[in-house]
């Protein structure tokens, strides 16, 4: 089984949960931007949640998929279609014939994830299949997909095969069959409104002027066009330090919000570097990284402060919810 790329889309890369353990050598983590969507996509097709999936950004590709492929699309809504028929998202889809999967306009969110039963047949590099674009390692030859690329698929596991059996026997006139059940993400909607993103105070919050501190939480920030998989650049009230701060570079993590001398904060995401020397004003909580990852450049966010304890509780609740979904899907697969 394989997938051939007819049109690559804006930026389509293979990503998993990330390449951990090598930041001390300067190797960045990478991985999916919206790991909630990536994990659920894998669970929906019976894969291990840590399997790699294609991350599709804003303008999706056209892909040729083979008969018998079981896949799931999660994340933002990039209007996927087969033969002009909308393909259901957040649920397993089984192909009854060779089909061209075309992504169209992005109507909600920013990034879509395409998981296939059995995963993508690439060897992990330093323990991960994630694409590290700048170093050109991992994923598909360390780069985004291009026209003519052929992606080999792995062999579906036991859970995937059970699901394939269920969907194979379903009567339908469409080129694909799907389940009556589906998963969802409440943070991805078509409604155009300011998104709330929760943060804890950063290590250097107190070094900023009181005016900056209060405006940071009171005013909205726009995600600028310069945002990418490395950092989300925020434009809004300028953050000013009380006095110039000479800092030694130190470790940064997923969701760190640092402020360079121009006063415009940057929220660091999947392709962040391993160390940074700018003052850290805040830290986006783990549970809200997927929220941030689905916000398009040009949209606005409102930052809200939570305590570390709250952040931990929200994280645990979120993980519990993912476990519940996994259990529910496994129950459905076993029928």
């Amino acid at each position: 089984m394989q997938i051939s790329v007819l049109r690559p889309g804006l930026l389509t890369t293979l990503q998993d949960l990330g390449r951990y353990g090598f930041q001390k050598y300067g190797i960045i983590v990478s991985g999916g931007m919206d790991l909630y969507s990536l994990r659920i996509a894998n669970v929906l097709v019976g894969n291990d949640e840590a399997e790699a999936a294609l991350e599709i950004t804003l303008m999706g590709p056209s892909l040729m998929l083979e008969k018998g492929t079981l896949f799931a699309i999660t994340g933002g809504d990039l209007s996927p279609k087969i033969d002009g028929i909308p393909v259901p998202t957040w649920r397993p889809v089984f192909l009854r014939q060779d089909s061209e999967l075309q992504f169209g306009p992005c109507t909600a969110g920013c990034r879509s994830y395409l998981a296939v039963a059995g995963g993508y047949g690439f060897s992990p590099v330093m323990g991960s299949k994630s694409t590290y674009l700048r170093a050109a390692i991992g994923g598909f030859h360390g780069r985004g997909l291009e026209k003519g690329d052929i992606l080999p698929l792995g062999n579906p596991g036991k859970k995937s095969r059970l699901l394939i059996c269920q969907l194979e026997n379903k009567m339908t006139k469409q080129p694909f069959s799907t389940t009556p059940w589906q998963a969802k993400a409440s943070y991805i909607t078509k409604q155009d409104r300011i998104r709330q993103v929760r943060v804890t105070r950063g290590r250097h919050f107190d070094y900023f002027t009181e005016e900056s501190q209060s405006r940071f939480f009171q005013e909205a920030f726009e995600i600028t066009k310069n945002s990418d998989r490395m950092g989300y650049r925020l434009s809004g009230p300028t953050m000013k330090l009380k006095a110039p701060l000479e800092m030694v570079s130190e470790g940064i993590v997923l969701g760190t919000v640092q402020v360079p001398p121009d006063g415009n904060p940057i929220a660091l995401v999947a392709d962040r570097h391993s160390v940074g020397g700018y003052p850290k004003i805040a830290q986006v909580i783990m549970a809200d990284i997927p929220v941030l990852a689905q916000i398009k450049p040009g949209e606005k966010i409102q930052l809200r402060e939570v305590s570390l304890e709250e952040a931990e509780n929200i994280y645990l609740e979120n993980e519990k919810m993912i476990q519940t979904i996994k259990t529910a899907i496994h129950l459905q697969i076993r029928g």
Binding site: W181, Q182, A183, K184, Q191, M321, T324, I325, A328
Partner: protein, 149 residues
């Protein structure tokens, strides 16, 4: 209070269904239709309106065996939360009076964060939506009544 038109419609629907006994209570009003005893009552609160005897014409109808139930119920496939629309604020899948075909999605039931679409199993017209949006429903609980066409 039921309106006269509603009572008439209920009598007609029950008459055509393969039901022997029918009881409906709604905001203090109660209707009992009992084909076995061939009496019907309409009560409002404590006051009971005089039961009108069933006409002769009706008796003949009762004697006829209804060949096919025209009223069909769509029931919950699992216990969970009932949703009339795909997402909050979105338009409801179906409204009362709307025609549905086999396979038309009429609602969603959420259980363990999985959302299952419920389809109409017959071609017909939605008579009534029996459950409020976001209500908790049990397995097999009637969600819609559909009149077959």
């Amino acid at each position: 209070m039921f309106t006269l038109a509603e009572i008439k419609e209920i009598i007609q629907l029950v008459d055509q269904a393969s039901l022997q006994y029918f009881e409906l209570e709604q905001s203090g009003s109660r209707i009992i239709l009992d084909k076995g005893q061939r009496t019907e009552q309409a009560q409002t609160g404590e006051k009971s309106a005089a039961a009108s005897p069933v006409s002769a014409a009706k008796e003949s109808v009762i004697k006829e065996e209804p060949d096919k139930a025209t009223i069909f119920q769509i029931t919950a496939p699992m216990a969970g939360t009932f949703y009339t629309a795909a997402e909050p604020g979105a338009e409801a899948f179906v409204k009362a009076g709307q025609e549905v075909a086999e396979g038309t999605v009429v609602c969603i039931v959420e259980s363990m964060k999985l959302f299952t679409e419920v389809e109409a199993e017959v071609k017909g017209k939605i008579v009534e939506i029996l459950v409020e949006n976001e209500a908790t429903v049990g397995y097999g609980q009637p969600l819609f009544t559909v009149k077959r066409i």
